[in-house]
């Protein structure tokens, strides 16, 4: 009898021990800029992750999830690769996430293919990245995904002639091609395609030329921050708006610099997948969860990209634990409701299929702050650049 009791106790302990082993910790390595001019991205990712944890706890299925943050600075593929190596080998992470810049994401492709590590891209928006590894999943957007629907929308508004002005680098050219092909396919005319050097500080010559050519609208893609500020100022000051030349943009009115654009931004048209002013319960909860953190950063597309990325990671962990290929299989075709609207993880392109909204900048009547007011969904699309 005593022996049986001891044996039973032993079995119970062994089972308990096994249970503890099942509730293991899955580590997620986040590679993002946490210092330098782009540090805001890192802060936004971290706050989105903390907001998600505050809402949903720190475990998925039988697994605890732990995040490890690594600072990649700016565009630095070598550093991104060695940080990924360190995370995979020394910290033994089961998932990678983050990646603001395309070159940084491309640099880790061979590593994640070899180690079979699911890697969730929170931002980098060049279509071709996902072709480099089966293990990339993207919860942000691609430039094709937002600029092609914008061309459709513009044509539907009666706009027939457009000049495209884009910054002369990868994303700018993606945006230009996406807009141009769609607009011309509908029967519109691209009068001129101007590629502006990335280091441009004075946009007056470009916009003065646009004004003299007098098209129905000007399409723009320039990197955020000082460039967008100078571009929109120049658009207004050179009287393009008075001349009736519509502004067509994408991320130019994003939330982190929107207030600094001031009244000059009111009335600008953009097509994009997320506005912090999106009218839904989920979005308000998300904004409130971020606002409850210390020193909350502005919430924009980068924040929501990370938030949905964490959702995807939680789902993969619950479904497949640390089994990389099974986790990717579980992510494919996943449907969920995000603060930006409904999402589906496209099983082929591995970029989310989502609503693209037309927005216009307005002052919020209650707070007096500028916001991107969504006027409607203009397309529900996946990565339109995947097959190009």
């Amino acid at each position: 009898m005593k022996l049986a009791l001891t044996a039973a106790l032993g079995v119970t302990l062994w089972v308990a021990g096994l249970g503890a082993a099942v509730a293991d910790t899955i580590k997620v390595g986040v590679i993002a800029p946490f210092s330098g001019p782009f540090a805001l991205y890192g802060t936004q990712y971290q706050q989105a992750i903390e907001a998600y944890r505050a809402q949903h706890g720190s475990s998925a299925g039988a697994h605890e999830i732990e995040f490890i943050y690594k600072d990649s600075g700016g565009v630095n593929p070598d550093l991104a690769r060695s940080l990924a190596q360190e995370l995979l080998i020394r910290d033994r992470v089961d998932y990678l996430a983050g990646f603001t810049f395309t070159p940084n994401a491309l640099a880790v492709a061979p590593l994640i293919s070899q180690s079979e590590t699911p890697t969730v891209i929170f931002n980098a928006a060049t279509s071709s990245i996902n072709r480099d590894s089966e293990f990339f999943l993207r919860t942000s957007f691609t430039l094709w995904q937002v600029s092609a629907p914008l061309a459709d929308w513009a044509y539907d508004q009666g706009i027939r002639t457009v000049i495209t002005t884009v910054a002369d680098y990868g994303p700018g050219i993606d945006a230009e091609t996406g807009f141009k092909q769609t607009f011309e396919a509908r029967g519109g005319t691209i009068v001129d395609s101007v590629r502006m050097p990335l280091a441009t500080t004075d946009f007056t010559p470009f916009l003065q030329s646009v004004r003299e050519a007098d098209p129905d609208a000007v399409f723009v893609f320039v990197p955020g921050g000082p460039t967008t500020f100078a571009y929109t100022k120049t658009y207004n000051e050179n009287g393009l708006r008075e001349a009736g030349i519509e502004f067509l943009g994408t991320a130019e009115t994003e939330e982190s610099n929107l207030q600094s654009l001031g009244d000059a931004a009111i009335g600008l048209n953009t097509a994009y997948h997320y506005s912090a002013a999106h009218d839904s319960e989920l979005n308000r909860d998300f904004l409130a969860a971020v606002a409850a953190l210390d020193n909350p950063a502005p919430v924009n597309w980068a924040s929501v990209g990370a938030y949905d990325g964490v959702h995807l990671i939680y789902h993969m962990v619950a479904a497949a634990g640390s089994d990389g290929p099974a986790a990717v299989a579980a992510a494919k075709g996943l449907e969920w409701e995000s603060p930006r609207g409904p999402l589906v993880m496209d099983p082929d392109a591995r970029t989310v299929v989502q609503n693209v909204y037309h927005r216009v900048v307005e002052r919020n009547p209650e707070t007096g702050l500028l916001q991107n007011t969504e006027t409607g969904v203009i397309a529900t699309v996946g990565d339109l650049g995947w097959d190009r």
Binding site: L40, R195, M196, P197, T201, T204, A230, N238, S260
Partner: protein, 287 residues
Amino acid sequence: MGLVLNIAIDGLAYGMILFMIAVGLSVTMGLMRVVNLAHGGFALIGGALAHWLGDLGVGFWAALPLAILGTIAIALPLERLLYRRIYDLGELQQVLATIGLTFLMIASVNWWQGSALLTIPMPELLRQPVDLGFRTLPAHRIAVIGLGFAVILGLWGLLDRTRFGVRLRAAVDNRAIASAHGIDTDRIYMITFGLGAALAALGGIMGAELLPIEAYYPLRYMVLFLIVVAVGGMGSILGSFLAAIGLGMVETAARYIVPELATVGFFVLVIALLALRPQGLLGRVQP
């Protein structure tokens, strides 16, 4: 014809902004011969102070002088504590000391005001477009053009027509002998450095409509400041002025005619010019 006029007007406006943001460096690095990579940092401090004062509700015309005075108040102790020790050191040491100072300034502003754009609200007067007959130009660009001419005239008067200017040139040319003649060279250097910082702040604030102030401003535009001073010729304010206007015109013309090559063209021109005249447009050959 319209194109030529456009290039002339926009080139002048852009060149004048280049001159305004670089003239302070022309004073500290050109005249005082200290490799002052922290020049953009003083512009940043001026701009950040103007932004902060604007947030507090101070009007632009009051915020402008206050921000410049604030920058001087930060620059003078720095001159006394740091710059005075590095005047006689080699160029590499000066580069290291001032780039380190730049990083400190960036980190301080980043900590104080964050990394978003720090806009300086312009008064109504400077915001409206001005009709030139054949096109419009924003009023603040016209103000910058006017201010640029005022600064170059003021500096010429100060350096060429006053006793202070004579003493400064003497102190720069041979500090020991100037000192032996009873010129208080420490004081002259301190005042001139303050002047350089004040001009940096003025340029930062007035140029902010085109080159907006944010924490990384000093690094983002450092090459631009250095090019203007190097092409103009060390120690020559007029040289910097001509270089800024010339480069502004050339780059603007390229943006109108061959947009894709504007930046490349700009740098090719700078390289060619410095290959032919390493001392710059109006620079003296170093003894």
